[in-house]
């Protein structure tokens, strides 16, 4: 196994970026990430991105964003219709194949031009489910009801998760929902999609992020304290919600097992839980101890949820804290699909 590290990261998240096209707001982020380690596009052994045409409302929308990388002379490039975390996985595999020691990864999404709750309905089964246009919040509320009535979680616990996210987000300049609220104040909120309250829902955002990966000695040259990827795995649950146990996440548990997330102490975890219910399930599935592990020190996806970038941003946030020495061992997680259908777990360590 080749040692690969996250050595640079840049992000931008705002409630809505209306005046700039995707490539216009991604170019500065791409330049910022590359400049942080003194590299240009011609230094990159591989480039991989994650985005979705359904958000952009345009076929092959990612092609226009490739312009921003500087693709001439021709580059080795790939794209996933997934969160950028899966693009990072592809880049990591590419480095494992040998022959290159750097990779450039980015993910972005601008969901504000459409109705995200409707757009997400189109990821469901096209014959039986999508024609009913299930709202993505309502789908998660089905899982929340099962969890609450089955005694797997309490509304108080969900409010604690929401309050923690808001408190942590206060010091994150990229967070969208930063207003502090007590557990009592959150429990006093009217339901948005019963049994979920507004604070249980993600703060939707537009934006993106860019990451540079480097292997072995190259990573040590580029970064004082590289965030080494010690384990990474992704797993998927069934597509049909009806055949799944929505009160736990089997795929997150399995991904954590194969990424070897357990074992040594975890100083911090950045979890891509768009809802308080998903964050609760993830803490359980990844076997995290909230007393010894800082959960979502950035505020997590509840505080700013940028479709197609939020998962990669978790990896970038975790890596940044390793660089700064805020922790030695971190777990980053990304999800995709309804009710935590797909999960990726990445374990990062400093030397």
């Amino acid at each position: 196994m080749i040692d690969v590290a996250v050595v640079a990261f840049a992000q931008r998240q705002e409630a809505a970026i209306s005046g700039e096209s995707e490539v216009e707001f991604m170019v500065p982020l791409m330049e910022q990430a590359k400049a942080a380690v003194g590299l240009t596009q011609s230094d990159m052994g591989f480039t991989c991105s994650g985005s979705s045409d359904f958000l952009a409302g345009q076929a092959f929308s990612f092609v226009m964003t490739i312009d921003g990388t500087g693709p001439v002379p021709p580059i080795s490039e790939s794209h996933v219709e997934q969160d950028g975390a899966w693009a990072l996985y592809e880049a990591w595999v590419k480095i494992q194949c040998g022959g290159i020691d750097t990779a450039f990864v980015y993910g972005y999404g601008k969901s504000s031009p459409g109705s995200l709750r409707d757009v997400l309905a189109t990821q469901m089964d096209p014959y039986y489910v999508c024609p009913l246009w299930p709202d993505s919040y309502a789908v998660e509320a089905l899982a929340a009801r099962l969890m609450l009535e089955g005694g797997h979680v309490s509304e108080h616990r969900l409010a604690e998760i929401a309050a923690r996210s808001r408190a942590s987000a206060a010091s994150n300049p990229h967070a969208v929902r930063t207003e502090s609220k007590s557990v009592a104040e959150i429990l006093a909120e009217d339901y948005a999609v019963d049994p979920l309250r507004p604070s249980d829902l993600p703060a939707e955002a537009d934006g993106g992020c860019a990451v540079v990966l480097a292997a072995g000695d190259r990573a040590r040259e580029l970064c004082e304290r590289p965030a080494w990827i010690r384990g990474m795995d992704h797993r998927s649950d069934a597509h049909t919600l009806g055949v799944r146990d929505l009160t736990s996440s089997a795929s997150a548990r399995l991904a954590a097992h194969y990424a070897a997330a357990a074992g040594d102490k975890v100083d911090l975890a950045e979890l891509h839980g768009p809802f308080t219910t998903s964050e609760h399930l993830l803490i359980e599935a990844l076997g995290l101890d909230e007393d010894s592990t800082a959960i979502n020190p950035s505020g997590g996806a509840l505080a700013a949820h940028t479709m197609m970038a939020s998962g990669l941003i978790r990896i970038g946030e975790a890596a940044s804290r390793i660089w700064r020495g805020d922790g030695d061992r971190a777990v980053a997680h990304a999800t995709s699909g309804p009710c935590l259908q797909q999960n990726l777990v990445c374990v990062l360590e400093g030397d």
Partner: protein, 199 residues
């Protein structure tokens, strides 16, 4: 004995699962089969074209064509996207281009396109390089029989009447020959060239 399955397979044969007739449970014996379902999907987007394209579309309403100059290579691109598609550099320098240029390449379409009754075959689509631009963009060649169009032919934009102008690329109805002498294209490597990274 091994069988080359790929060779043995008839690509047009029905899948094995459909080899036998489909039978319905007794309760549905008299039911009329559903032969197709229609599940319409419609999503509405409020599209915002971004800085560069917004500028371009606004200028279109004044019958002006805006391009952008790449700070790294000096190349001029139209329509603008806010970024050099070759160097990947953000572009801020706006260049106003004339509505004249020449045919870089062209084709003649002889089949109709659905929902475009305005395009009557045969018609000619051309890749047009505006004077001062480094790359071409797409337009219709009009006011001439398609068979007479040729590479190098000089063209000028034909705009909609002033009262019909909008912030839209549709303001240009097409491109008509100017009658000037043809552009003599000698530098076939002029487009898409960028200096290799000196490092």
């Amino acid at each position: 004995m091994s069988v080359d399955r790929a060779e043995a397979r008839d690509p047009l044969a029905a899948p094995a699962a459909l080899a036998a007739p489909v039978t319905l449970p007794p309760a549905l014996a008299g039911a009329e089969p559903v032969e197709s379902v229609c599940t319409p999907i419609r999503m509405t987007y409020t599209y915002t074209p971004g800085r560069a394209l917004s500028r371009y579309l606004r200028a279109m309403a004044d019958k002006r064509i805006l391009g952008e100059r790449c700070p790294a290579t000096g190349q001029v691109f139209v329509p603008p996207r806010g970024v050099s598609p070759l160097a990947g550099t953000a572009i801020s320098e706006v260049v106003e281009l004339p509505d004249t240029g020449y045919v870089d390449s062209f084709n003649i379409t002889r089949v109709p396109i659905e929902r475009r009754p305005d395009l009557k075959p045969p018609y000619c689509s051309a890749w047009i390089v505006l004077d001062g631009a480094s790359a071409g963009f797409l337009g219709l060649v009009i006011n001439i029989a398609p068979e007479e169009v040729r590479i190098g032919m000089r063209l000028r934009a034909v705009w909609k009447p002033a009262e019909e102008l909008e912030t839209s690329a549709a303001n240009i109805l097409g491109w008509a020959p100017t009658g000037e002498p043809d552009e003599v294209i000698t530098d076939y490597e002029r487009i898409g060239r960028i200096e290799a990274d000196p490092t």
